[in-house]
């Protein structure tokens, strides 16, 4: 790992039988993998499953003891392809990624894997990035499972159920020779809870055994005629085997209730939400006792027809709680009931909204509607009357609360890239800018308003290809170093070379993948004992044939950043113009450096602490600096000068002295209000020699001037009131 240490978490992985694990669920999954005798793990980082990758990356000694191989895969496709190890060999493998984006990338390998089937258990831990806090398009992983016949576990979101699902996942996979997905929503990944651990298990059949005794079986390879027989095998053998395992092991759960004429079928992952909403209506308690019978579908694909028929038979109404659209589960249940000639009315979308996250509020409203339609309104606690002033209060808040989308952190090295791009466009005209996935996508929001599209990780340059006609104004494509190594090198850069693009590609290089938490990649600057790093982007780009490459090693220098962009946009050189903008991610850099600075000061080493500031008597309160920065630490301050109407600019204490505000004030010729103050700790001999001389000279001149003129003594000038 590049920037953070997960030593504490790694220790948790050593817990043995009958000890108690306490922590986040995604860490529990990591531990459970080892308890299940996993042989290899791969994946691609991204919220909400980054933690699994980060912890394993730091767990080399434990993994070595257990004979477990861990890879930071180059992409989700690479991770999925890794699972082919379980095709022929009786070894358990697990991979993880953020979905649905990662599943999109992985789906080629997944489809091949699912077609041939597996011998050893193959588990895909899916971080379902859906609903509040999500950073991607709102889709479901469910249809990927359906189309490739991969089983989809959706456990109840408590640590024990999730850990059980890992164990069952491997066993189900082996029992049905099918890869299994374990889906965890964002909050479930981060839920804090506990479970009783077991000993880690060393696999009996090792990867070394596999390498030394290679196996092959053409029947498992996706090639005619085997590919045709796979389809039948999936339906005729693997599916029944899976359903049998699910039934025999009681993977789905029924919670009985006294209102037996109705029932709820819910995705397992929504169980806590369902119980909480029922609790709000007086239909359940905090211990999970419910008055409405509940079928918790912990395996959402495949469904178990017998269980569903038994649950629904004879009921007046059943509600399906299925988040997202289309309502695959509801449709499937309808088909099951129809085939079994059961006429229980099924409700789902209609009582509940078709789109959007099923938050507690949404579920409460939906259940209220369901209960009312089922004629059981009286069973619910009546709604408390809202306060009389509520309507007015809400109306005022609707316009009175500022929107607060995420943006660049204080000191982010990407901010100056877009300030420079703004300035370059001011001079050379607006350009089509194809954006990419990564923090740099925040450029598309105010104050920069740069970026027209985002087509997928590493696809920034590829998404500008449609405009590659060599005429008119050159377009700009932005791509991060993470996306570059993920696929952008071939899909974007090599593609532009091959198709003789004349446009500009800006590679944002922050020394590691920053948006996902600071994981190492090929071009990381850090030394990593377990990975090969320090492969510069520049060489890769030149290697695929780019001739015009320029690198900026200090993006905060807005002037040179702007000039190189202008150069790229105007040069007569043929072929794609690649600008590499390199500066380290400030969030991670601060995490590393803050303690070091503190230590250096304590150790008596000469240390300079920098901070930027604004002279409020020079600032006129026009906020031009903020319109080209958006830095959280550059903010408004009510002016205490009665001659000023508008708030002035101010740099708050969160400033990390990246220098962007001063650079922008210079590059855009904004104003002379900015200054940098360097506080020197443990001064050197030269410092202590010079300082009194300077002070004497300056104080003398100041006194001289002061005695010859009148100076305002008010706080607006002197700043005494601060």
């Amino acid at each position: 790992m590049a920037e953070r240490s997960f030593k504490k978490e790694v220790e948790v992985l050593r817990l043995g039988a009958n000890q108690v694990f306490t922590g986040e669920a995604i860490l529990a999954v990591t531990k459970a993998l080892l308890e299940c005798g996993v042989s290899y793990v791969g994946g691609y980082q991204g919220a909400p499953i980054s933690h699994l990758m980060d912890v394993l990356a730091d767990a080399k000694p434990i993994l070595d003891e257990l004979g477990v191989h861990f890879e930071n895969s180059a992409s989700e496709a690479a991770a999925a392809a890794m699972l082919s190890t379980s095709m022929h060999y009786p070894v358990r493998g697990a991979v993880t990624w953020k979905s649905t984006v990662g599943t999109n990338v992985a789906s080629d390998a997944l489809a091949n894997l699912a077609s041939g089937g597996v011998t050893g258990g193959a588990l895909i831990v899916i971080g379902e990035d859906y609903g509040e806090g999500s950073s991607i398009m709102q889709e479901r992983t469910h249809p990927f499972a359906m189309k490739s016949q991969i089983w989809l576990l959706d456990p109840r979101p408590n640590t024990q159920s999730i850990v059980d699902a890992v164990r069952h996942g491997f066993e189900l996979s082996e029992a049905s020779h099918t890869p299994v997905m374990l889906e965890m929503r964002i909050r479930a990944c981060h839920v804090h809870g506990s479970y009783v651990t077991q000993d880690n298990v060393r696999p009996k059949f090792t990867l070394e055994d596999a390498r030394n005794h290679p196996r092959r079986d053409t029947e498992r390879i996706v090639l005619p005629p085997a590919s045709f027989s796979h389809e039948f095998e999936k339906i005729e053998q693997r599916l029944p085997a899976a359903i049998k395992y699910i039934k025999d092991n009681g993977l789905n759960e029924i919670f009985d209730g006294d209102l037996s004429e109705i029932g709820i079928i819910a995705q397992g992952g929504l169980y806590n939400g369902v119980i909480s909403a029922l609790r709000a209506l007086g239909l359940a308690d905090v211990y999970g006792e419910t008055r409405v019978p509940l079928y918790s579908m912990n395996v959402t694909y495949p469904q178990v027809p017998d269980e569903i028929e038994d649950f629904c038979r004879g009921k007046k109404a059943v509600l399906v709680v299925e988040e997202g659209y289309p309502e695959y589960i509801e449709q499937a249940i309808n088909t099951i009931l129809r085939r079994a000639k059961i006429d229980t009315p099924l409700m789902g979308k209609g009582c509940l909204p078709e789109a959007g996250e099923y938050t507690a509020g949404v579920l409460i409203a939906g259940f209220r509607k369901f209960m009312t339609e089922a004629g059981l309104e009286a069973a619910m606690t009546p709604l408390p009357a809202p306060p009389a002033s509520q309507k007015e209060v809400m109306a005022n808040l609707a316009t009175g609360i500022p929107p607060r989308p995420p943006g660049f952190c204080t000191g982010c090295p990407e901010r100056p890239i877009f300030s420079a791009m703004r300035l370059a466009q001011d001079e050379l005209g607006e350009r089509h800018v194809a954006a990419d996935i990564g923090c740099h996508l925040f450029s598309s929001m105010p104050p920069f308003n740069i970026g027209a599209s985002t087509m997928g990780y590493g696809l920034g340059a590829a998404s500008a290809a449609g405009l590659n006609i060599g005429k008119g104004k050159r377009s700009i494509a932005v791509m991060g170093d993470g996306g570059f190594w993920h696929n952008g090198l071939s899909s974007g850069v090599a593609n532009a070379v091959f198709n003789k693009s004349d446009d500009v590609i800006v590679l944002v290089d922050n020394f590691y993948t920053s948006a996902t938490g600071g994981q190492d990649i090929l071009s990381s600057r850090a030394t990593n004992t377990f990975r090969s790093t320090k492969h510069p982007l520049e060489e890769a780009v030149k290697g695929v044939g780019v001739e015009w490459v320029k690198r900026i090693d200090h993006t905060y220098n807005v002037n040179s950043m702007r000039d190189v962009l202008k150069d790229a946009l105007t040069t007569k050189a043929p072929g794609p113009k690649v600008v590499i903008a390199s500066s380290e991610c400030m969030l991670n850099r601060q995490r590393r450096e803050k303690p070091l600075v503190r230590k250096a000061i304590n150790d008596g080493k000469r240390t300079v602490q920098e901070k930027f500031g604004v002279d409020e008597d020079i600032c006129t309160g026009d906020h031009a600096c903020m319109r080209i920065s958006g830095c959280p630490s550059l903010t408004l301050k009510e002016s205490n000068d009665p001659l000023k109407d508008d708030p002035v600019a101010s740099v708050d204490s969160s400033c990390v002295a990246c220098g962007h505000c001063g650079e922008v004030a210079d590059a855009a010729i904004l104003c002379p209000s900015f200054y940098r103050a360097d506080t020197i700790h443990n001064p050197s001999k030269l410092d202590t020699f010079l300082a009194p001389l300077r002070k004497k000279f300056i104080t003398w001149l100041q006194a001289r001037r002061h005695s010859r003129r009148l100076s305002e003594a008010s706080s607006a000038i002197a700043g005494e009131a601060r």
Partner: protein
């Protein structure tokens, strides 16, 4: 079956935070606290991109141990949240908006400080939103409100806002645990314990019933202006001349305008000298005389009051000399040392980011010289090469300070400079217009005075302000004679300050242009 349900309820806590504020730290303290007290706690969050400065919610439920394991919620249930912790004032409003704050059960604990959003910051005028809206909403929606500036308390104690907020939660009594238990939770986490405990105590005391005082809502905690009405330094003659000017204000101007006029006078004298102060008072007197003649007394001498403010602001334009003058003052050095919390013996180096253009350099010179430079491509090119462009000046060094000192010394020849000539002409034109309008339309004249607010910033920003001012003035010409002229001018000014490009202003001007073809309403 389960006809009898348990009445046990967990305590639900929603933490409204901004990415980077350390909401996760508070969350883990809460979980530790509950677990150390033998309770069961469950927490969830949605980090990811929200970590990057966006608004986000952390959620904790806790319940005493029972025979059965509880099924806790992973997200706040509207109407069932017991404690809402808002680590920024507007985020308290967001919690209310999302239905998390209800009068029957919710204890709202909020920090009153503002962390301005990009939308608020990028407005050329004052884009900050009204904190009072949230105050009213909080009083109407919460069972109890505990509020104080938790960010300031944290900073004073060298810690983070989570610590002071955690103290406020302890003091609120919303959780059934003693203060010591909270402190123990902080201790057991092991990071920055002493600073956290100090901030915790400060947060605790700030909302304790003994300390709680009625909340004053201001947009920020800026200090109140203290006009001491005296000038420091200078010679005895200069002081005497200034005192005489001060007396003139008390003698000639109505009491309601004294404060602003004294402030204006001090600023103008600080900018140049007492002679310039006299000029200021002469201009002000001209407006005031007219004000008196046109029923100003009944209007509280609004025109005089506004003129006192804006004439001073206009006369103290920001040329290179003024900037240099402000940069080298001893009071500024002290202010910066205070800002970076430097001790008396510590060395603080200062670097200024300056970027004078040829225009500003030429304007500093006497009119004839300036005009020659402005008209000669060769001369402006030379000056550009020699003096203009981005500069980093170390004001704590001999060279840098001496340079700015010399520049500020050009004050003596400022009255002959091109910049002064242009500024004076502009002020005169503005005053002529005011004087011209005042007898016919008192309110419009006052609005014209206020339009001076549009001119601010440096270089391009200044030019943009100027052009907006000009546009509004053209609008005023068209509006003259209409009964709603003042009202429209006020609107034009407001729109001009709303967005940079002045799109809304242009729209309004188009509407005004259409008046000419139709009679006044």
């Amino acid at each position: 079956m389960s006809a009898s349900l348990s009445n046990d309820q967990p305590i639900a806590i929603a933490i409204m935070a901004l990415g980077g504020q350390g909401g996760g730290v508070m969350q883990s303290w809460l979980v530790t606290l509950a677990e150390q007290q033998g309770w069961i706690a469950q927490s969830t969050s949605v980090p990811g991109v929200a970590q990057r400065t966006g608004a986000t919610v952390y959620y904790v439920e806790m319940i005493g141990k029972a025979a059965k394991r509880p099924v806790l919620s992973l997200m706040p249930i509207p109407g069932m949240v017991d404690v809402v912790v808002a680590a920024e004032w507007m985020e308290a409003g967001r919690a209310i908006q999302r239905g998390f704050v209800t009068p029957d059960r919710t204890c709202l604990i909020a920090s009153t400080h503002r962390q301005f959003s990009v939308a608020e910051k990028t407005v050329p005028g004052d884009g900050s939103m009204d904190p009072q809206v949230v105050r009213v909403a909080a009083d109407a929606s919460a069972k109890e409100v505990f509020a104080a500036d938790m960010a300031a308390l944290a900073e004073e104690n060298g810690s983070v806002i989570s610590a002071s907020m955690f103290g406020a939660i302890a003091a609120s009594g919303a959780l059934p645990f003693p203060r010591e238990a909270f402190e123990e939770a902080i201790r057991s986490q092991g990071v920055g314990v002493n600073a956290s405990l100090k901030a915790f105590a400060a947060g605790y005391d700030a909302v304790s019933p003994a300390a709680a005082k009625p909340l004053e809502m201001t947009a920020s905690s800026a200090a109140v202006y203290t006009s001491e009405r005296r000038m420091s330094g200078g010679t005895a003659e200069q002081q005497a001349a200034f005192a005489a000017l001060q007396k003139r204000i008390e003698r000639d101007l109505p009491p309601v305008a004294h404060d602003m006029a004294q402030t204006g006078l001090a600023r103008v004298v600080d900018f140049q000298d007492t002679a310039y102060g006299e000029e200021y008072l002469a201009r002000l007197q001209r407006i005031h005389t007219l004000d008196q003649q046109n029923g100003g007394e009944a209007r509280n001498f609004t025109a005089t009051q506004e003129a006192a403010k804006y004439i001073a602001a206009a006369m103290t334009y920001r040329d290179v000399i003024r900037v240099a003058d402000l940069k080298i003052r001893a009071s500024r050095f002290d202010r910066i040392r205070k800002d970076v919390k430097a001790s008396d013996e510590q060395i603080v180096a200062m670097t200024e980011f300056l970027h004078p253009r040829v225009e500003e350099i030429a304007e500093m010179l006497p009119r004839k010289m300036a005009r020659r430079i402005e008209n000669s491509r060769f001369l402006s090119g030379l000056i550009d090469k020699l003096f203009a462009g981005g500069k980093r000046v170390r004001t704590d060094s001999l060279r840098g300070f001496a340079m700015l000192y010399m520049l500020s010394g050009l004050r003596r020849m400022r009255m002959r400079s091109m910049r002064h000539y242009r500024e004076s002409n502009h002020i005169d034109a503005w005053m002529r217009m005011t004087v011209d309008i005042l007898p016919q339309d008192y309110d419009l004249a006052t609005e014209v005075i206020r339009c001076r607010r549009l001119i601010k910033g440096y270089s391009d920003t200044h030019a943009r302000g100027m052009s907006k001012y000009d546009k509004v003035m053209q609008g005023v010409m068209k509006l003259r004679g209409r009964p709603d002229a003042a009202e429209w001018t006020e609107r034009l000014r407001r729109l001009a300050l709303k967005d940079v490009d002045g799109k809304e202003l242009d729209g309004a001007l188009k509407t005004i242009a259409s008046f000419e073809s139709s009679p006044a309403r």
